[in-house]
């Protein structure tokens, strides 16, 4: 077994004639916190959709713990230990906070599609859901409909749902987008806490969050990796400064 939890080998994706991802190769080591940055339209979210199985790749290979996952449907990839969040908050609005988390735990606890066993008899499931609620500081909101939570709480819930299934590789798509400074600080603390011992890959626009959390940064521009490495090296890379960070340093 190599030490890469997730490996992309020359991955390409074209929609018609339009090449969105052009030969991306990446190794994400086990336990690493890896951030992908890049200007709008660089293909960051597309890359996530390829890894999580929402879109099929046009060329190349994707390996999760040395097993090929490209071509598998999303739910199978999830069951193999890769979980993702979405850029647009995708919690189940009409269900309560508790039910949202329970839904995320169902599969990993091996419950599959049982029709007849009523939910209220599953004490272990309830106990684990309540433990997760406590961990996310959402216990006071246990029975609130998720759609009524504050935006920051909704994002926290989504992060919770993403990690609840016990996946070893976590993909977060702009987890702090649209948050105030203090909310962002809380979210960063939460991500740091829940991603302990897991491999984390995230897309993020907030440079403060990126440099705060990431062990390795990859810069994606027009579907190609132009730099990848520890934060201080990426920051010093002239090509990166020109393509992306230039505006930030000038500000």
């Amino acid at each position: 077994m190599s030490d890469a939890a997730l490996a992309l080998k020359n991955v390409g994706k074209a929609f018609g004639n339009l090449e969105i991802i052009r030969g991306v190769s990446l190794d994400i080591a086990r336990g690493e916190r890896h951030a992908i940055i890049g200007p709008n339209g660089a293909g960051k979210t597309t890359l996530f959709n390829l890894i999580s199985g929402r879109f099929r790749i046009s060329s190349g290979e994707i390996l999760l713990n040395d097993v090929r996952i490209d071509g598998l449907p999303p739910h199978k990839i999830n069951r193999m230990g890769l979980s993702r969040s979405f850029q647009i908050t995708s919690i189940f609005h009409r269900l309560s906070v508790f039910e949202n988390l329970r839904c995320a735990l169902l599969w990993s606890m091996g419950y599959r599609y049982s029709f007849w066993t009523p939910l209220w008899l599953q004490r272990e499931l309830t106990a684990r859901t309540d433990a997760m609620l406590e961990d996310l500081n959402l216990t006071p909101r246990r029975d609130t409909a998720a759609g009524l939570l504050s935006y920051a709480d909704q994002r926290a819930l989504e992060i919770g749902m993403t990690i609840a299934g016990g996946a070893s590789v976590i993909l977060l798509d702009e987890p702090t987008a649209g948050m105030s400074n203090s909310e962002t600080d809380n979210a960063v603390a939460l991500i740091r806490r829940v991603s302990k011992g897991k491999t984390l890959l995230m897309v993020e626009h907030d440079m403060k969050v990126v440099f705060d959390l990431a062990d390795v940064i990859t810069v994606l521009v027009y579907g190609q990796v132009i730099a990848s490495g520890p934060p201080h090296i990426v920051r010093a890379n002239p090509a990166v400064q020109e393509a992306y960070l230039g505006a930030l340093d000038a500000a």
Partner: protein, 315 residues
């Protein structure tokens, strides 16, 4: 007075029958995002299958077998039909179900013929349950009410209290998130579609001998079910329930009311005479425009509240 009580019962029976059809249609709508035109066709298939099956094994086994067969047909339609056209967008799905209506209708005519079937209420239920003010209440209507209430409770428990229900609710609103959480969303969709067809089939079994089992029954039921779903609000089961009962009552009461607009105006001292179009319209009794009422109500609700009674999205 007896007319009011009898109509109330009949309206409830008809409303629950509508709900059995409309609830499946609403669930399938939440999932596909388009209305399934062929839903009433499954209702018709349910009635015909019940007729044929009950000739061999009797009514009560048919009550279980026919809906199950409808569920299988539904699953086949979803897996081999809808799932394939799904990639081509909503219009393709809509046209697919639209075409299905004609295929089902022609097939039914080819297999069973054009004439109404002799599908009758089973003798064991063919008696009068009670008599109010000299009017008989057939036991079979009580039985219909019992079956539909039982189905309502079972569906509610399944959706709210079991694991599969939780996953269905999740997959209906955010299929991508549900599949990212490890749930097999295509499988869930097949189950929902088959479940909706099961309910429609059951409605066909108990409605086929209440009304008539003939090749036009899908055509006459389909529009009413659409009205109910739109009126109650697309995607809302609670709204669908209220609309079904309301529509059942309205349609039952309308046929027994012999008053016209003019009769309502008379106590106010207004009388209209003469032989013109205006008088003609005012003197039409409600009973004669009963069949129009659901559609008139749909137009009214669409103009003032496009979401329907409890809907979550615009029609």
């Amino acid at each position: 007075m007896e007319i009011v009580l009898v109509s109330l019962f009949n309206g409830l029976v008809y409303g629950m029958l509508l709900f059995m059809l409309a609830s499946g249609l609403t669930l399938i709508f939440s999932m596909m995002g388009v209305l399934n035109f062929a839903h009433a066709s499954i209702y018709m298939i349910g009635a015909y299958l019940a007729f044929t099956v009950s000739r061999f094994v009797g009514f009560f086994p048919a009550l279980i077998i026919a809906p199950l067969l409808c569920a299988l047909i539904g699953a086949a339609i979803e897996v081999w039909g809808l799932r394939r056209v799904h990639h081509n967008g909503h219009i393709a799905e809509l046209l697919f179900t639209f075409g299905l209506v004609f295929i089902v209708q022609r097939s039914v005519q080819m297999i069973w013929g054009m004439l109404p079937m002799a599908y009758r209420v089973p003798p064991s239920l063919d008696f009068s349950l009670f008599t109010i003010y000299g009017a008989n209440f057939p036991a079979y209507r009580g039985f219909m009410l019992l079956v539909s209430v039982g189905m309502l409770v079972a569906t509610w428990l399944l959706l709210k209290k079991t694991r599969i229900g939780l996953v269905i609710q999740a997959a209906l609103t955010h299929p991508q998130m549900a599949s990212a959480l490890g749930h097999n969303v295509p499988r869930v969709f097949t189950i929902v579609f088959a479940g909706g067809c099961l309910l429609a089939g059951l409605a066909g079994v108990i409605g086929g001998n209440y009304q008539t089992t003939e090749p036009g029954m899908a055509e006459s039921m389909g529009p009413i079910v659409f009205v109910v779903v739109v009126f109650g609000g697309l995607g809302s089961l609670a709204g669908c329930f209220v609309a079904s009962i309301l529509m059942g009552l309205i349609m039952t009461f309308a046929v027994v009311i012999n008053t016209s607009m003019l009769d309502l105006l008379r106590p106010l001292g207004i009388t209209v005479t003469g032989d013109n179009l205006f008088t003609e319209i005012l003197t039409v009794p409600v009973a004669r425009i009963g069949a129009l009422l659901p559609f008139a109500m749909m137009i009214i609700i669409l103009s003032f509240r496009p979401r329907g009674l409890m809907g979550t999205r615009d029609t």
